[in-house]
């Protein structure tokens, strides 16, 4: 059974894109798609659609075979939690420290406030060089630190799907290589992934199959 299936999905254009004409696509464990689009906004819209962040104007969204009702907001939350969305617009909460941002999901779901960062989160913070900045707010750190914190948050939330957009923009070169390694491990473990590089040099890093969006027409190859 497909983990995510978009059936006859269509969406109006956003920004400078052409929108998404009616298409169907499914993501199953082991899939790794490289996304190619003639317009960045269409690629962005496609990833947001997969992340349930854009309700379909036509068509249906199935998660593990179950159709999602976008009018029932609360029922979408458990699905969103299972999707690691590393889009260019993935953000941190501005009025909380990086540490709280990394812990807030656990604060909420475990209903405890005396939690510490787990070992894997701490080691990733060391790896990305943000360990000493954990008690600062996003406005007090560099853009690449924010991006690093978003990556750590999404990588460690136990997601079942990864959606990655222009992954290497903003990140320093030495971090990029570690990040590539991390994504490779994710894909090797069979977690489905859709990846939009934006830069041709990274276009073919992880792909097993391709998704093309040309003039709003989505084609899976």
């Amino acid at each position: 059974m497909a983990l995510i299936e978009l059936r006859d999905y269509a969406h109006a254009p956003t920004g400078r894109g052409k929108g998404l004409e009616k298409f169907s696509v499914s993501l199953s464990p082991g899939d790794a798609f490289s996304l190619h689009a003639d317009r960045i906004d269409d690629a962005h819209l496609f990833l947001r659609a997969l992340a349930t962040l854009e309700p379909p104007e036509e068509g249906s969204y199935f998660f593990k075979g179950e159709a999602l009702d976008f009018s029932k907001f609360r029922k979408l939350l458990p699905v969103r939690r299972r999707i690691a969305y590393l889009g260019t617009d993935a953000a941190l909460i501005g009025n909380r420290t990086l540490r709280t941002n990394l812990l807030i999901g656990r604060y909420y779901h475990e209903n405890k406030l005396d939690l510490e960062l787990s070992d894997d989160v701490q080691s990733l913070c060391r790896l990305f060089g943000i360990e000493s900045k954990l008690d600062l707010r996003p406005s007090q750190v560099a853009l690449e630190d924010i991006r690093a914190a978003v990556i750590i948050r999404e990588m460690t939330k136990g997601a079942e799907v990864f959606l990655i957009e222009q992954a290497f923009v903003v990140l320093a070169r030495w971090i990029v290589e570690k990040y590539i390694e991390m994504i490779r491990k994710v894909i090797d473990s069979g977690i489905p992934c859709v990846y939009y590089a934006g830069l041709t040099q990274y276009d073919r890093l992880f792909k097993k199959r391709d998704i093309y969006i040309r003039d709003g027409v989505v084609q899976v190859v």
Partner: protein
């Protein structure tokens, strides 16, 4: 003429739509308060405490001087024009029942409602609310419910502090600065104030707190495209809050004292 009628119709439609949206939003917040889900309960309590700190505690240095100035001025004026035996009733009617809640609401709108609209608008534009949702967090739980509880509790506290400071502090200032006859002032207040006065002031605090929160959050969430929309939403939200408070004040006055 037809254009004018059309314009009027469109404006009415827009406003009715907005009120319907705000009512639905209020319903969802109140429902979430009643349900009080276990997930995020401690986090919610912490954010409520933070909100009370920002709205009530940090506003004390504004509320107390204003209440002292207004209270002493009013008592001095009233002692000059009102007959001594009416002073208690006039003070209760004007200071405790009308000006206390209204001026406190105005201070909360200026300080906190605008801040809530700005914060919510920025969170919407910068996808911070989406970031919460991607963690499986319901924004109602940790963003909207704590704002409503915090602002309403703060409103109760600030109105109480305003009224007490205005009457006692105003009396003390008037007594120490002048030789005006202010005998039995406090006992007159004590006799003039009734349970209905206290209930109406409490109702005002409740309606002001709930209404200001819903309006300011709703205007913040209405921001769609860019950061430049935030100042416009903030200004409109503050004006809407002000009109709402004046309307509620009049409705409660008409309902209980006319």
């Amino acid at each position: 003429m037809r254009d004018f009628v059309g314009y009027l119709g469109r404006q009415t439609g827009v406003r009715l739509n907005r009120y319907a949206d705000q009512s639905a939003f209020l319903y969802r917040i109140l429902r979430q308060i009643v349900v009080n889900p276990k997930a995020g309960r401690r986090l919610r309590i912490r954010i409520v405490v933070e909100q009370i700190y920002f709205t009530a505690v940090e506003a004390l240095w504004i509320v107390i001087p204003i209440s002292l100035l207004l209270g002493s001025m009013m008592i001095l004026q009233l002692s000059g024009v009102a007959a001594q035996h009416d002073m208690g009733r006039v003070t209760v009617a004007l200071l405790i029942r009308e000006f206390g809640p209204l001026i406190t609401a105005l201070i909360v709108v200026l300080r906190s409602a605008t801040a809530v609209t700005i914060e919510t608008g920025y969170m919407k534009v910068l996808h911070e609310i989406e970031a919460m949702e991607l963690q499986g967090i319901n924004p109602l739980d940790i963003l909207f419910v704590p704002r409503m509880i915090g602002l309403t509790v703060s409103m109760f506290c600030l109105i109480t502090i305003f009224c007490i400071t205005a009457v006692l502090g105003g009396y003390a200032i008037a007594w120490s600065l002048t030789t005006l006859p202010l005998q039995n002032f406090l006992s007159q207040i004590g006799k003039a104030i009734t349970g209905l006065d206290i209930a109406v002031v409490a109702l005002k605090a409740l309606f002001f707190g709930v209404g200001i929160t819903v309006i300011s959050l709703h205007y913040g969430l209405a921001v769609q495209k860019g950061i430049t929309e935030v100042p416009v939403a903030t200004s409109r939200g503050a004006v809407a809050c002000l009109f709402y408070c004046l309307a509620v004040n009049f409705i409660l006055f008409a309902a209980f004292f006319l």
